[in-house]
Symmetry: C2
Subunit: 345 residues, 2 copies
DNA sequence: TTGTAAGCGTTATCAA
DNA sequence: TTGATAACGCTTACAA
């Protein structure tokens, strides 16, 4: 016999009362004598009674569970977000059910499906790199399903989303490089179908323009996977194959930035003297590598917290989705380290 | 109206058949005419029917959901394990419900509680650093609840667990340092109440002894939190405050190892010439820091896979827990990098 | 080949 | 102050 198997009926039988009485006593409903309440609770304790959340879910058509769909768990940013999600959810009495898509659209859809079957109360979603059309999401939105998108947000009119200010983060990073006297700044860009990549590139471009620098198309190289190998290759290409050599690199993500650093070392270029580098995400390793890597820090934990509290508010009708017209945008912070500082101030 | 709200009854009404017929038709039960099956499926499709997993759970007393309780999500090792768990679970049709304890015993217990309420089919657990007595687990085990412990395993006779060979990993790491000619090897140890810490320390000790070296108690410093600050302080202490200076450090975890590296740099000690360093866990940054950090790699993904498939086998009665008497032990791999190699071979 | 009815554990409604 | 009953959505004897 398993623990917690005792039901309300068992308690009722033991005390020769009806199950409704037991139910009410356990919930401290008014109109139940203190005497009965005491007895019921006593027996409940004795039998190790544990309410069956499944039965409750069925009854109330609510599962007190939210579904999280993310590309990857093993990723500093996403795991930080999860941490924030978990924190808020558990403090408000919700369970978190988790799936990773591994950047596959098919898995994204099937996750959505099983979660719907499981009567999930709402979704937190950061979609996969393969996802280019959002029908599977907008269908749910049309039916009134509570969804909050985070970080990677879809182009759907009435979608609620929480994101970071990628544009401003990139703008600040690039401006910082310019202020340090770098003038030929290249960009290792992210996958083109993600808004965050576009925004970061836009921030990079506008910073250059606003500081009177030219944007060289050959300085922008797409690194869709965001690995250090990719960053390494892109940087070697920038150094060797292009007439106008860059003197700084702003990378769409930290891994690519590390690849860039390794390429510079391999080519004998000194960082930050001959090549300034700034990454994006502020992974844990940024501060411990040599030279330490300047990076734009994303408030992952906060994103998780904010997205979750909004979702739960929507679920609990404390928040009307219609009142929110624009995405919630959280600020980044530029952490300046050795890799991009060559001016003594 | 929400999507997937259509129930078996709705289909039945539409076709003027009974709900049992619909249920059977959807499941391709024998003894239902092909004609009926066709019609039922057609209407199901039309109404966007989606089986209600909650109702199913209640009926079958099975939720097809497993609960994962870990100390922290934002941790390379654990997130890798989660990835393995998620992979196996989803491929076998199970959901994964996740909570992190943040190393708090109270949260561990309350997670256990809510999951039990949610009729979880089984548990995957790596307990918190605060957990020193295992009554809350053994009670469940006695009641026959399927639990697989991983990495941090409790001292309970009939517990099923999956772990890595911490002893051997530490032994190999220490032996490697000895072979490189280091003779005064210190150890940054983990929290004393975790078996993994004890095993790693034991591996360290025995490697020394088997190679004819003495074990100096003042060379073993506990770093319970495993942060780089802690490793930094411990190493400064080792370098400055002790008569017999160490010439190598084997750290219980990579973060502490990084702290040791930083301390060496701060003190002007060259790595690996004057100080060899080996870490444990093989975090992503090991290969990209300077010098790259030798480390014992733990097969996190495999641990997740193995633990999950064992748990599901237990749940599905394909595996009798009584047949397993010893913990499953997975091998580590020593990844030798620059931080510990001073002999040209 | 199909229908009826009971039951999984809980709670809301109505009645006593 | 308490009890009987129905219902949440589904499956499954048992009957027809």
């Amino acid at each position: 016999m398993k623990i917690g198997q005792a039901t309300i009926k068992d308690i009722a039988k033991e005390l020769n009362v009806s199950s409704s009485t037991v139910s009410r006593a356990l919930k401290d409903y008014p109109g139940i004598s203190d005497e009965t309440k005491r007895k019921v609770k006593e027996v409940a304790d004795k039998l190790n009674y544990r309410p069956n959340a499944i039965a409750l879910s069925l009854r109330k058509s609510r599962s007190f569970t939210i579904g999280v769909i993310i590309p990857e768990v093993v990723h500093f940013f996403f795991s930080t977000v999860i941490s924030g999600i978990e924190e808020v959810a558990s403090s408000r009495g919700y369970n978190v059910i988790l799936t990773q898509t591994n950047e596959s659209l098919a898995r994204e859809k099937s996750s959505l499906d099983t979660m719907l079957s499981n009567q999930i109360d709402g979704f937190l979603i950061s979609f996969s790199k393969e996802t280019t059309d959002f029908d599977h999401f907008s269908k749910l939105l049309d039916y009134g399903y509570p969804i909050v998108f985070f970080d990677r947000i879809p182009d759907i009119p009435n979608a609620i989303s929480v994101m970071i200010d990628d544009y401003q983060g990139a703008y600040n990073a690039t401006s910082h490089l310019i202020e340090q006297g770098y003038t030929r700044i290249a960009h290792l860009a992210g996958p083109k179908n993600l808004n965050i990549s576009k925004e970061r590139e836009r921030g990079y471009r506008e910073a250059l323009i606003n500081h009177g620098l030219k944007v060289y198309p050959e300085f922008i190289i797409e690194c869709p996977f965001g690995t250090n190998e990719e960053g390494f290759k892109a940087t070697e290409y920038l150094i060797k194959k292009i007439n106008l050599k860059p003197d700084a690199i702003f990378a769409n993500n930290d891994m690519a930035a590390v690849g860039a650093m390794l390429a510079c070392k391999a080519e004998g270029l000194k960082i930050p003297e001959e090549m300034g580098i700034v990454g994006f995400s502020n992974w844990q390793f940024c501060s411990i590598i040599e030279p330490s890597l300047s990076s734009v820090s994303q408030p992952g934990f906060k994103i998780g917290e904010k997205a979750t509290s909004m979702l739960l508010d929507m679920i609990e009708k404390k928040l009307d989705p219609d009142t929110i017209t624009a995405p919630i945008v959280l600020e980044t912070e530029l952490l300046i380290r050795k890799s991009s500082v060559r001016l003594s101030s």
